[in-house]
């Protein structure tokens, strides 16, 4: 069904009110030679029952973390989230509202986004945050564009340990700008402050460092950002994982000026890569340069607290070609999920969650390193993800594990993540969802597979 509600009798009376006889009269404006007179070549309309059947069938043709044990990460993580998020987010008052242009009719979403902005500032240790952008990758590109615009400089220093999708999106966005992207070489999977210093010059707009990085390693943000700030107007851009912020030093504690991240781990299903959530926080000085929606606290005509969209003069619908970004929405419902997730866990819960990830990942890494033929690729500290050198090509291990109901990780040589490593390297992520039993069983399978 097409969900329309006008009956043919109603249509006749409505056409009468308009003063025409036939619905076709309303389409006379479309010249005959370009009218489409066939019916679109689409499958026949399905009833809801048929749709349910077809969708269940297609969903059953997929196997993944819902019916396998998942150790895949590389930018999307199989985390737990409480059912209450799905229940609350299904409320039509959230689901079917639009961008809160009319403050008086949108106080619910405005207040929730204001709370989200506050939580993001606290999570990153920075002063302000926006109401979100598309995803982590586009957030990196927006942050670089903001640094370039704010500093008037032309160079962007990017860690070679940045997630390759983020780097590719950054390249796409910068390709048409008068800007140059310089990659910082890695040493044992991490960026040294010395490398930042060597590449820094007075034309450097920003230094972009992700931690935990694409290998899962914890970078020396403090060292790298101290080096970056040796040039007065250079921005330190931290790409963070929001779960790691529950345990590790936050971007703001390490001297970052801008912090961006992928918010998917905060109560958002992986959904084959989207919709996810771009997180964007910064120091106060960037308030009028921020991309995306900003919610401000104000008062109503009676002096009661009220919330509204603010600083809209930055945005495309006012500024057109002079806007700092073309972004026109936020990821509303995803930001709502993230704020509910953070509220449900609270301060203590976020620390516990991050610790579960950290200790389980280290337990698994230790056990795999003891296996014959397996070793960890890097020596540095890591959070909940690590690269393993295997005695066989990762592709073979993935195939063998798949048959045993395990998704063992990401093949580092896969073009899908830009071939960051060798064919025998596997990137393994561990979240709080994995039990000791699953970790031990995985180690056993890896041992068998290599034999």
């Amino acid at each position: 069904m097409d969900y329309t509600q006008i009956t043919s009798d109603e249509q006749a009376s409505m056409l009468g009110a308009i003063g025409v006889k036939d619905i076709g009269d309303l389409f006379e404006v479309i010249p005959e030679e370009i009218r489409f007179t066939d019916t679109l070549d689409l499958p026949p309309a399905m009833s809801e029952l048929e749709l349910q059947r077809a969708l269940v069938e297609m969903a059953a043709d997929n196997h993944g973390p819902h019916d396998m044990v998942c150790f895949m990460g590389a930018g999307a993580y199989d985390h737990f989230y409480p059912v209450l998020i799905d229940q609350l987010i299904s409320r039509g008052e959230y689901l079917t509202a639009y961008t809160p242009y009319q403050a008086e009719a949108s106080q619910g979403s405005l207040q929730a986004f204001f709370e989200f902005q506050t939580q993001m500032a606290r999570l990153t240790g920075l002063d302000i945050a926006n109401a979100s952008v598309y995803d982590g990758a586009s957030a990196v590109a927006e942050a670089a564009a903001m640094s370039l615009g704010a500093s008037g400089k032309k160079r962007v220093l990017v860690a070679s340990t940045l997630h390759t999708h983020y780097r590719r999106v950054l390249d796409t966005y910068l390709a048409d700008q008068p800007a140059e992207c310089v990659e910082l070489d890695q040493i044992d999977g991490r960026i040294s402050p010395e490398t930042v210093r060597e590449n820094l010059d007075e034309d450097t707009a920003c230094v972009v460092i992700q931690s935990p990085n694409v290998w899962g390693l914890i970078e020396d943000w403090e060292g790298c950002f101290t080096a970056a700030h040796e040039q007065p107007k250079t921005c330190a851009v931290a790409v963070f994982n929001p779960i790691a912020c529950g345990l590790l030093k936050k971007p703001g504690e390490c001297g970052a000026d801008i912090a961006i991240g992928e918010g998917q781990p905060l109560g958002i299903p992986m959904s084959l890569g989207g919709p996810h959530l771009g997180l964007f926080a910064a120091r106060q000085q960037f308030i009028r340069k921020m991309p995306g929606r900003l919610i401000g606290r104000t008062v109503d005509a009676e002096g009661r607290p009220a919330y509204c969209l603010t600083l809209q003069t930055r945005e495309q619908h006012i500024k057109g070609a002079k806007a700092t970004s073309n972004i026109c929405t936020n990821q509303g419902l995803m930001a709502m999920r993230a704020t509910m997730f953070l509220t449900a866990l609270g301060q203590a819960g976020m620390r516990e969650l991050a610790e579960l990830c950290y200790h389980k990942a280290h337990y698994l890494a230790g056990r795999i390193a003891e296996l014959d033929g397996y070793s960890l690729k890097h020596d540095g500290p890591f959070f909940h993800e690590f690269a393993v050198q295997c005695p066989k090509p990762a592709g073979e291990i993935i195939a063998a594990c798949k048959a045993r109901g395990i998704l063992p990780g990401v093949d580092c040589s896969s073009p899908r993540i830009g071939a960051i490593g060798e064919p025998n390297e596997l990137l393994i992520a561990v979240t709080e969802k994995r039990t000791r039993h699953e970790l031990d069983a995985f180690v056993e399978v890896l041992g068998e597979v290599s034999a």
């Binding site: 009110a17 819902h66 959230y94 995803d135 509220t343």
Partner: protein
């Protein structure tokens, strides 16, 4: 023993009342925090603790501590302070606030879709790849264009992506100097912003009575040099709610100049199955699934902005692309040497695209044509019933000038009686109607888009509301300055919010 009169009602701000305006302010979640409470628990650690170097550890994150029941109450109360398509007539012009079928939500939440990791091998995700491939072919057919990319995350993102493809095409064909993009003066603000991001210069083309001024277009092409023009961005039906009958002629003018015609698909709802962009000369376009294909607007997102392009532009689309092999299996293709690259991580807004598939599959070809017809019928009906009181610059049925799926009113005679457009909009909130789009595409206008899913009963009530507001303006215009009076808050002070921005709560 305490008597009722002795008890002090310290937490109660007001008695329950009929009006939403009498509802108490909802405190911030941070103000409700009670240390020691928890909304959800986690299992105990079941492995030995690893060493955790002290210099890595950060300060605790200052998040509120709330029990689960109070958490539910908080977000339920907040939801009660929102207008929505479910609860209100929401005729926001150019946003196509149609009904969001719940089968779509159910579909996207099936574990076999929602739980998939984006880097899984193709052989484990054949079902969802089939769905994405079918969505691609549906959107190709509806556009009458060669190939669709599902990657862009929103309409503006799609615009940007398609312009990148056009620029890449010209660069590849030794015409890198084509950096001018024309757009009509009533274009969406995202159009020029997307151009700037692509390094293109924007040239505004005049519109006359909502239609593109062909003479101005030709003059500008001559003046700026045909060899420098990359594309013309047009919204059709346009932002004044009119289908531009000259569209094929416009396409010819562009093509004669060696340039391309780009269509902003914001208003596709009005032409589904009635005409196809590819058939009237469009080279590239974007869709907004959250407008045309019923995926929810979710307080601002997430949407999806798939783009459709002609054969010339296909090889420049982002990677990965979902493909079907000769044996009927599906895969993700990353090997596209001419691709502009990636515009977001992974594949696209898959969860949104699942909803889009479910909607198109429910409608079928005939259903989509009926969607267009009913959306145009509903808009023309409202326009016809309101035009005597609310002036409509572009609507004149006696001259054969109808609107498409939305109409623009500039209620001059009402505004001359001492009220502002904002007064009218805010009074609509008192009647449970979400105000239409305001001051766009022309000053002092309301742009009304009822959509095809509204019933005649709802449309008639809206007419009553608008006529009632007009009567109030006649009898007591002053009272409208106070509007809204029945909402959860009175008028918000947006000027103060911008003058001294408070974006974050500080205790």
């Amino acid at each position: 023993m305490t008597t009722v009169t002795q008890a002090e009602p310290t937490m109660i701000e007001s008695m329950p009342a009929q009006s939403r305006g009498a509802r108490p302010v909802e405190p911030l979640i941070f103000e409700k925090s009670v240390p020691g409470q928890r909304g959800v628990d986690l299992p105990p650690l079941d492995v030995p603790k690893a060493e955790l170097p002290a210099d890595l550890i950060g300060a605790p994150v200052n998040l509120p501590s709330i029990g689960q029941h109070d958490l539910m109450a908080h977000y339920t109360h907040l939801s009660d302070r929102n207008f929505s398509v479910d609860g209100n007539f929401y005729p926001l012009g150019s946003c196509t606030m149609k009904h969001n079928p719940r089968i779509n939500e159910w579909a996207a939440s099936l574990p076999g879709f929602a739980q998939l990791h984006p880097l899984q091998d193709d052989d484990t995700i054949q079902g969802v790849l089939r769905l994405l491939y079918e969505t691609r072919t549906f959107l190709q057919e509806i556009a009458g264009l060669h190939e669709v990319s599902l990657q862009p995350a929103a309409g503006a993102h799609g615009e940007y992506t398609a312009l990148k493809c056009i620029c890449a095409y010209f660069k590849d064909h030794g015409q890198a100097q084509r950096r001018l993009v024309f757009a009509t003066d009533n274009a969406h603000g995202t159009n020029p912003a997307s151009c700037t991001m692509c390094g293109a210069d924007v040239v505004a083309v005049k519109s006359v009575d909502g239609w593109t001024d062909l003479d101005d277009l030709k003059r500008l092409i001559d003046e700026r040099g045909a060899e420098n023009v990359a594309a013309f961005m047009i919204t059709n039906p346009n932002t004044a709610g009119l289908f531009d009958s000259n569209i094929a002629r416009i396409a010819d003018i562009l093509h004669e100049a060696g340039a391309m015609l780009y269509m902003d698909g914001a208003n596709m709802n009005a032409i589904l199955g009635k005409t196809r962009p590819g058939d009237f000369g469009v080279d590239a376009m974007h869709y907004n699934t959250h407008k045309t294909f019923s995926t929810p607007h979710g307080c601002g997102g997430p949407g999806a902005g798939p783009i459709a392009v002609n054969e010339k532009l296909a090889s420049y689309l982002p990677v990965p692309q979902v493909m079907m092999a000769a044996d009927g299996s599906f895969h993700l293709d990353c090997d596209r040497p001419k691709s502009i690259g990636k515009v977001r991580g992974f594949i696209g807004q898959v969860g949104v695209l699942i909803r889009c598939w479910a909607y198109i599959s429910a409608c079928g070809g005939e259903g989509l044509r009926n969607v267009a017809e009913k959306s145009v019928l509903n808009a023309n009906y409202l326009a016809a019933r309101l035009r005597d009181v609310y002036e409509m610059p572009f609507f004149a049925p006696e001259k054969g000038r109808f609107c498409a799926h939305e109409f623009v009113t500039v209620p001059k005679s009402l505004l001359e009686k001492g009220v502002t457009l904002i007064d009218i909009a805010k009074r609509m909130i008192d009647y449970d109607v979400h105000p239409p789009t305001m001051h766009w595409p022309v000053h002092d206008c309301l742009m009304v888009e009822p959509t095809e899913t509204e019933s005649k009963r709802t449309l008639d009530r809206f007419v009553d509301v608008m006529l009632q507001i007009a009567r109030q303006i006649e009898s007591d215009p002053e009272s409208l300055h106070e509007a809204p009076t029945e909402s959860v808050i009175r008028r918000a002070d947006e000027v103060a919010a911008a003058r001294k921005p408070v974006l974050v709560w500080e205790e």
